[in-house]
């Protein structure tokens, strides 16, 4: 048997779908009833009219009967909703200006927010795209001073991994590594990005190889092994299934390919390695480099899988306790004393990036806020304009509930329309953005995930706008439906309280817009400044040639001889005016060493090995002492040159010359004597002067990265390619990169540039929104006061006087918003000061510009409605009431 409610539903559904027939049948049946009644009355001697009236009375009226009959046959509630939607559509279509504006406002708000937050979510908050990722945790060490470090030493890692294995299964890796791949049958030799990983790296991530296997713990074979990426397998191993078990030459050494990873596997990071090599095999790649021996050097990123039934906080407490027990000298500022565990994500935000993400997220959220405020304003103004319509409908018998339901339907309709357009906007933005980012980052060895609209983010943004629409739609609906009907039909709206609300919303919009424009302005200024800020070293005409002799398998003797040959050949090329050598040019990623004086005060500092000519070529003045001597280089003398800041840190208030310090990593070596003090530069971050920097004498026999820094007469592409030819003539197999210092400087300027571009786009969106908002509010306010203007003009006020009065009053509101906005922008700039180059909150020029610009925009958007209002003939506007 069918349940009753289902049978009823089917019955009604059938009637509903055949509703023309149903209605016709109802009419026919009732008509028969009436006619038969009337016949009976007529038979008793009534006239036709009397009979008809008597029948109607007996029936209880045709219309109510039919309505009751109909309601019983179909879905009255659904029908009223459908009716409301149609009515709403008609109302929206009738007012295309309003509809388009509201939809555009919503679409912009929803689109920008859903897009940008999806990106940030995917990068910084979404669990890694790996099996069972919710149990993966990133591990940061925390120093004595509470500074978090993501890169840890082998010593720390091994202690945590061994003693904490009941809580967390820890693996370590270092993705910043590159190796030279020998030629294979499928491809020419080249340099690829590599990652050194602990043996349990893949098993901890629970990702099996697509072909072959991954590393096994406690491997005992003699031949070093390597796991390669899908891409590597395709390009260099010809995509043959037989590739596993075969061998490949890395840094001139034979490695057995034991596995190929699936194409979608990129590891727990945004870096994209092509080969994975066990940590312990580093000494095979680079003789002398051995993590297990060099235990205090900080190079590893640690990630772990929290054991089942262990909570993140418990694991953190356990690991912190282990870190706290590790022996460390009390003066070591860099010693890790505790750890912080966080849900592993692709791109953990460090303090540098947090500021950037904040800069991106805050204005985005503000745009949403403006959009909501704007929508509220538009709906309020519209509801006020429709007071008459609503009153008329109520007078005709519509219930209050019905009116509210209808207005809500209209608001929701707007929200749905705006939401759909916004969603399309976000999808399109993400698609284009993804492709663009993929193109630029692919070449840099980064694997960014494909960004797609995150359902959670999308739902949230859409929800916020829906709620805004409903709330904003409801307020005027309640208000309008409560009004005195008689007054409302006369359109006599004394809506003072909603005027205050509207002014408040306008102030919010102007303020937020000011903040955004100011932020954009300050960032552009910061970009301008970054273009003129001197990094402290010469860049014009300076070109850096970089190669890695260690990876290329040079012996110490050959390396020394080769570099000598390089120097003389380059000097003889006819383009080089001056030449120096170093490990790396300024603004490259440098490892850190710990400095110790008398075993006490310790400071972590980046360092560079440099030749004696380095300071001359790079134009870095020595404020005290001298550069290295050639004899010191040859004799590997224990000398060093420190930056001014380092000198201040190590020996506050004293002259640094002649003092000595040790590099903590090798305690046995002789203390280094300071022979010179170099001026401070911006060699680590272009955005700030280095906190510490140490220069050590270059060892030409060291087989590591080398950079030859050239001062050229003319730095043109032709000259650079000629220099490459010189290098190739000496050794065709050695990969050499060549870059001008100006180019690398410009790369550093990309961040503030990108920041200004994003800020500018958001600010323009905000400006458009605020402009629309001000226009709407002004139109409304002015239309409310038409009668007053009419009286003023009739009494002899000039149109110009009225116009200026309106503008003055409107501008007062705008001024409040501007003042609040400037205050907000100053506060924001103070927060961001550290991360953006030369970003100063005290930039009167930028603020003045923004205020004038916004003020002008406000005046402009108010002028239209105001002048329209005063142009109306007072006689007409007075009679209209």
């Amino acid at each position: 048997m069918m349940p009753d409610y289902l049978r009823g539903l089917l019955f009604r559904a059938r009637n509903f779908f055949l509703r023309n027939r149903t209605e016709h049948e109802i009419d026919e049946e009732l008509e028969f009833h009436l006619a038969t009644l009337a016949e009976r009355h007529a038979a008793r001697g009534m006239t036709a009219d009397e009979a008809r009236l008597a029948s109607l009375r007996e029936m209880g009226g045709v219309t109510p009967t039919r309505e009751a009959y109909r309601d019983q046959m179909m879905f009255p509630a659904l029908e009223s909703v459908v009716q409301d939607i149609w009515y709403g559509c008609r109302a929206l279509r009738k007012n295309p200006g309003f509809t388009l504006t509201a939809v555009a406002v919503l679409a912009l708000g929803i689109g920008i927010n859903a897009g940008i937050f999806s990106i940030i979510w995917t990068l910084c908050f979404r669990p890694l795209p790996l099996p069972d990722a919710e149990h993966l945790a990133g591990i940061n060490g925390r120093t004595v001073q509470g500074i978090q470090r993501r890169i840890l030493s082998y010593e720390t890692f091994s202690a945590l991994a061994e003693q904490g294995k009941d809580q967390v299964d820890l693996a370590a890796y270092t993705p910043y590594y590159s190796v030279q791949v020998g030629s294979t049958p499928a491809a020419a030799p080249g340099v690829v990005r590599a990652a050194l990983v602990s043996d349990n790296f893949f098993s901890m991530l629970r990702t099996p190889a697509r072909l072959g296997r991954t590393f096994a713990q406690g491997r005992s074979t003699d031949v070093p092994s390597v796991v390669v990426s899908y891409n590597f397998w395709l390009r260099r191993l010809g995509g043959e299934a037989s590739a596993t078990g075969g061998s490949v030459r890395l840094n001139q050494q034979l490695f057995t390919v034991i596995g190929v990873m699936p194409p979608e596997f990129t590891g727990p990071d945004v870096t994209l390695p092509e080969v994975w090599i066990p940590l312990r095999d580093e000494s095979i790649l680079q003789p002398g480099r051995e993590l297990q021996k060099n235990r205090t050097e900080r190079r590893l990123i640690v990630i772990g899988r929290i054991q089942p039934n262990v909570r993140l906080t418990e694991a953190q407490a356990a690991l912190s306790a282990i870190a706290g027990r590790m022996p460390a000298s009390p003066s070591d500022r860099e010693a890790i004393r505790s750890v912080v565990l966080y849900r592993a994500v692709l791109f953990p935000l460090n303090s540098e990036m947090k500021a950037f993400a904040f800069v991106l997220m805050l204005p985005t959220a503000l745009v949403l806020l403006i959009a909501c405020a704007n929508l509220a304003n538009l709906l309020l103004a519209r509801a006020a304009r429709r007071g008459k319509e609503i009153a008329t409908r109520m007078a005709l018998g519509a219930s209050r509930r019905r009116i509210i339901q209808q207005l809500m339907t209209e608001s929701l309709l707007l929200a749905v329309l705006g939401g759909s357009v916004g969603t399309l906007l976000a999808i399109e933005m993400l698609r284009t953005g993804s492709q663009y980012l993929f193109r630029i980052t692919g070449g840099m060895g980064y694997a960014l995930p494909v960004f797609s609209l995150d359902t959670g983010v999308w739902g949230f943004t859409l929800g916020v706008c829906m709620i805004a629409a409903v709330v904003c739609g409801l307020t005027p609906a309640l208000y309008a439906s409560r009004r005195d009907l008689a007054a409302a039909t006369r359109q006599d709206a004394g809506a003072t309280h909603s005027t205050r609300l509207r002014n408040g919303l306008m102030i919010v919009q102007v303020a937020v817009c000011t903040v955004l424009l100011s932020a954009a302005g300050l960032m552009i200024r910061s970009f301008q400044k970054s273009m003129v800020t001197e990094p402290g070293f010469a860049t014009t005409g300076i070109v850096a040639l970089q190669f890695d002799l260690g990876n290329a398998g040079f012996s110490a003797m050959r390396a020394e001889a080769f570099q000598k040959q390089v120097r003389s050949r380059l000097r003889g090329s006819g383009h080089v005016r001056d030449l120096a050598q170093a490990d790396a040019p300024p603004l490259s990623d440098r490892p850190m060493i710990s400095l110790a004086t008398n075993g006490t005060a310790v400071s972590a500092s980046p360092f560079n090995h440099v030749s004696p000519d380095f300071f001359r070529v790079m134009g870095i003045p020595l404020v005290a002492g001298r550069s290295f001597f050639e004899t010191e280089i040859a004799a590997k003398a224990p000398v060093a040159i420190v930056s001014q800041a380092t000198a201040r840190h190590l020996w506050p208030g004293e002259a640094a010359l002649g003092k000595s310090f040790r590099i903590q990593a090798d305690v046995n070596s002789a203390p280094l004597e300071v022979v010179g003090v170099a001026a401070d530069t911006r060699s680590v971050w272009l955005s700030r002067v280095d906190e510490d920097y140490v220069y050590l004498p270059l060892d030409f026999s060291a087989r590591s990265q080398s950079a030859v820094l050239l001062r050229l007469d003319r730095d043109t592409p032709a000259v650079r390619s000629e220099l490459s030819d010189v290098m190739r003539a000496m050794n065709a197999e050695l990969p050499v990169s060549i870059a001008s210092m100006n180019d690398s400087l410009n790369q550093w300027r990309l961040l503030p540039l990108a920041g200004s571009a994003v800020a500018m786009c958001l600010a323009l969106a905000a400006l458009a929104l605020a402009g629309v908002g001000m226009y709407g509010v002004m139109s409304y306010l002015v239309s409310q006061r038409k009668r007053e203007f009419g009286i003023r003009i009739a009494l002899g006020a000039s149109k110009a006087a009225v116009l200026s009065m309106v503008l003055r009053q409107g501008f007062r509101t705008v001024m409040v918003g501007l003042a609040l906005g400037v205050a907000g922008a100053v506060a924001l700039a103070r927060v961001l000061m550290g991360s953006f180059y030369g970003l100063s909150p005290y930039d009167p020029a930028a603020f003045l510009f923004v205020v004038c610009f916004l003020g002008a925009a406000a005046l402009l958007s108010m002028f239209g409605p105001a002048s329209r209002a005063v142009r109306v003939d007072p006689a007409i506007s007075l009679r209209e009431e």
Binding site: R7, G60, Y69, Q72
Partner: protein
């Protein structure tokens, strides 16, 4: 004259169709008027929602036919489940009526 209590109309219509066979809306209304001898006030239109309710429950079915005065009319007839339901309702009503009668007698 008194109004018809909620739910009673349905039973009355069922009983009507049970004893008289297929009837159109007007016929049912007339029959109810005759039986009640004007003791109850019935707007004839109100039987139509009741007829729909009974159809929804499957206790009656409707069919177009021709009336005694040669007009097209919708005829309603009781179904098997309708008859069963009528038995149930009749028992309930009798019990209720008996109880009410006893109760009122006692309090008198």
């Amino acid at each position: 004259m008194t109004d018809i209590p909620q739910g009673t109309l349905d039973v009355m219509v069922l009983q009507c169709l049970h004893s008289m066979g297929p009837l159109h809306g007007y016929g049912i209304a007339r029959r109810l008027e005759q039986v009640s001898e004007d003791a109850m006030q019935l707007k004839q239109g109100t039987i139509y929602p009741a007829l729909v309710r009974l159809q929804e429950k499957g206790w009656i079915v409707a069919e177009w036919g021709v009336s005694e005065n040669n007009r097209k009319a919708k005829f309603y007839s009781i179904t098997r489940t309708g008859r069963k339901q009528l038995v149930v309702e009749t028992t309930q009503w009798k019990t209720l009526a008996a109880t009410m009668a006893r109760l009122l007698k006692v309090t008198e």
